[in-house]
């Protein structure tokens, strides 16, 4: 291990420890904001693991997140199964689903994939309602646990740390190298003998896996799960916008998008409650016109300018 990576690792450990201490320092309101931010950090970073190098915009986060929340609720409410077992089942189901979707759509060029994922959350929501209506029935899905917000926060923090660790491992591996080549030029990647479809599907599966886990962890916070609340298309867009705002070409990029975005979103909710959608649109414009590489890109540009 060289000096630079020792330094990076120490910074990471300090950040993790500081993040883990938040529930002891803040309570109530600020913890609930930190929790929301942590949820989006896990979602956006895992999203960027796939969409960063490949440039395929996936709008499927809401679908996988919903699978996590819905399966936990169904298992706990209707079958008295444990939260942990249902979380594991949800993760497996979402991963398998991501594999199937990946195999069906990732061989095609990008735009088909985007459109398909856009409709996915809605499709699964309808499918779930249909199954519930015709086969399972419903008595309302309650997720009543003794988890406090601090517990949920720490679970999300753990997931985020794992996402970062995995992201680092991938970036050092042959798979990561293959992904960078695919992102630069897919034809070249195929010509040098990379199984591009397999690489893309594998990474897409990891985003599905993590989004479902996050959905499962959030279910006890919502306490009462309705399909049209957990399969939310808005969530998919927020994840994309926050990741793009932060910048996707660095592992820690989405982090720098999520934190300012969550804080500004909150401020707007308080003082200009009717302008959150407008803010979403403005952020998109700012990304497109001024921050094509996100906050990270801007920081790197500034540093380069200072250096010269």
């Amino acid at each position: 291990m060289n000096a630079a990576s020792v330094k990076n690792l120490s910074i990471a450990i300090v950040c993790i420890v500081l993040a883990a201490l938040i529930p002891f320092v803040f309570n109530g309101y600020w913890l609930s904001i930190a929790l929301t931010a942590m949820m989006y950090i896990a979602l956006s970073t895992s999203w960027a693991l796939f969409s960063g190098p490949t440039h395929y915009i996936s709008l499927a986060s809401g679908a996988f997140f919903g699978i996590g929340g819905y399966l936990v609720a169904t298992g706990m409410s209707d079958y008295n199964l444990s939260f942990w077992l249902m979380m594991a089942i949800a993760a497996v189901v979402a991963t398998v689903l991501a594999a199937l979707i990946g195999m069906a759509t990732l061989r095609l060029s990008g735009v088909y994939f985007v459109i398909f994922t856009l409709g996915l959350a809605e499709m699964i929501r309808n499918l779930v309602s249909w199954v519930q209506n015709n086969f399972l029935g419903s008595r309302g899905l309650y997720v009543l646990t003794d988890f406090t917000e601090a517990h949920i926060y720490w679970m999300l923090l753990t997931v985020s740390v794992i996402v970062f660790a995995l992201g680092w491992v991938i970036s050092q591996s042959r798979l990561g190298f293959a992904m960078r080549i695919i992102g630069n030029d897919e034809t070249v990647a195929r010509h040098v003998g990379i199984n591009t479809a397999k690489a893309k599907v594998l990474l897409f599966m990891t985003t599905g896996f993590f989004a479902a886990i996050v959905g499962a962890i959030i279910a006890p916070r919502y306490s009462y799960i309705e399909p049209n609340l957990v399969f939310s298309p808005e969530l998919s867009f927020l994840v994309v916008i926050m990741a793009l705002l932060g910048g996707m070409h660095r592992l820690w990029g989405p982090l720098l998008g999520v934190i300012p975005f969550t804080l500004i979103w909150e401020a707007i909710s308080i003082w200009l409650p009717n302008f959150t959608t407008l803010f979403l649109g403005l952020t998109f414009l700012i990304i497109v016109y001024f921050l094509p590489n996100g906050v990270v890109g801007l920081l790197e540009k500034l540093r380069a300018r200072v250096a010269t």
């Binding site: 029935g137 008595r139 309650y142 916070r221 919502y222 309705e226 609340l229 909710s269 959150t276």
Partner: protein, 411 residues
């Protein structure tokens, strides 16, 4: 503008003087503010103003919050031991999103430090917010929350109260009406039942199947449609082909309107026609006029008591809108209970107020309300449009149920 002119024409103007004046102005404003803050009681409210549930909340929830706060403040505020205190209302939009709702309640509790909170709108939001209300000891008098899990929820959250009934009581209300009509020869035995394929719709339909069959009804048509289906004509046509005597739809607001519109177009000829949520909305009668005479719907009200007449008139006067024929009154009642409990205790002590709600009976526009194991058993289950007025026809322990009318055509 005024300041600028003053500065120009005032020959003795000096910066120092201005600063001194500004300083004293700030000081006075500050004193006034703290004086005012001490004299108010802070009440919070979080409910949807945007998103899927906003339509219902702007009919049932928000106008009653406004009405109650204005009324209380008009008579000088809440009477406490140390004098009267005006209500300072702090409201947030939860965007029909549980995550946003939780954050907003946390904000009320820890940043705004409100003294009490008006319970949320919607079953899911009441359940999602319950742990935070419990954590900070706020009493939560839930209205728009209908569930069969009341025992488990009230055991878990000692400050949570329910006032609008259970899923099963709802279905039983409809069953009782249909049995009544059958026994008096107004309808036959065949029921067509449809439901919206979403949480509450599925729950009601599932509860209804055995209850209707056990009561001797034959389900000649049993179908569902996804949430947000724009074209409901196949559902009504299917029901019509089954030639039912009664039509029951466990529906949400948009489809309550959509189904009824199609029933009018198709001239669905039944002796009893029931749609669930939003049938009692003033907009329902506004849209269909006299055509919906005899339509049955979820919940009800007795509009003939003096207190209810007074309430309806004030609701219209202060909010500019008509109250609905069901949960509007219950929502207002929940705030009356909170008000009487706070005044009964005489201080801002949430624990004592919660205990007071458990131990006492409350004089409300719906009569006397009290809680048994945190649940009130006085509520309307079914209502009917009769000559332009929505009246309760079936209830749990409510007085003044109207005679049921047979539905005859859509004129």
């Amino acid at each position: 503008m005024i300041k600028a002119r003053m500065i120009k024409t005032n020959p003795t103007f000096s910066v120092r003087k201005l600063v001194r004046q500004l300083g004293s102005a700030v000081l006075i404003a500050g004193l006034a503010f703290t004086a005012q803050a001490a004299d108010t009681i802070k009440i919070g409210a979080v409910a949807p103003k945007t998103g899927p549930l906003a339509g219902g909340a702007t009919v049932t929830q928000w106008p009653n919050v406004q009405l109650w706060v204005e009324e209380v403040n008009a008579r000088g505020g809440l009477k406490l031991k140390d004098g009267q205190r005006m209500i300072e209302l702090i409201e947030y939009d939860d965007k029909t999103n549980p995550g946003e709702h939780i954050k907003a309640v946390q904000r009320l509790a820890t940043q705004d430090k409100v003294d009490f909170i008006i319970a949320p709108y919607g079953t899911g939001f009441n359940v999602a917010a319950a742990p935070i209300y419990a954590k900070y000891g706020y009493p939560q008098i839930a209205v728009s929350a209908i569930t069969d899990k009341m025992d488990e929820l009230t055991a878990r959250y000692p400050g949570l109260f329910f006032t609008l009934g259970t899923t099963t009581s709802f279905v039983n209300g409809v069953k009782d009406i249909l049995v009544d009509m059958r026994e008096s020869g107004k309808i036959g035995n065949k029921v067509a039942m449809v439901n919206v394929a979403d949480a509450f719709g599925i729950e009601l339909a599932e509860a209804a199947r055995p209850i209707f069959t056990d009561a001797g009804f034959e389900l000649v048509y049993d179908n569902s449609y996804p949430l947000g289906t724009p074209d409901l004509s196949p559902i009504i046509k299917g029901a019509k082909d089954a030639a039912p005597d009664a039509f029951v739809a466990w529906s949400y607001p948009p489809d309550t309107f959509g189904l009824t519109e199609q029933a009018i177009i198709e001239d669905l000829d039944v002796g009893a026609y029931y749609t669930a949520v939003a049938t009692c909305f003033p907009a329902f009668a506004g849209k269909f006029g006299s055509k919906i005479d005899g339509v049955l719907g979820a919940g009800g009200v007795n509009p003939d008591t003096d207190k209810m007449k007074d309430y309806f008139a004030k609701h219209k006067e202060i909010t500019g809108k008509d109250a609905d024929g069901w949960a509007s009154a219950n929502t207002y009642v929940s705030m009356q209970i909170l008000e009487q409990a706070i005044e009964g205790v005489g201080e801002v002590d949430r624990e004592k107020v919660t205990q007071y709600i458990k131990d006492n009976a409350f004089d409300t526009i719906m009569g006397e309300i009290s809680f048994e194991n945190q649940v009130s058993n006085k509520f309307w289950t079914v209502g009917q449009w009769q000559d332009g007025v929505y009246r309760g026809v079936a209830s749990s322990n409510m007085e003044g149920a109207a005679e049921i009318k047979q539905k005859s055509g859509w004129n």
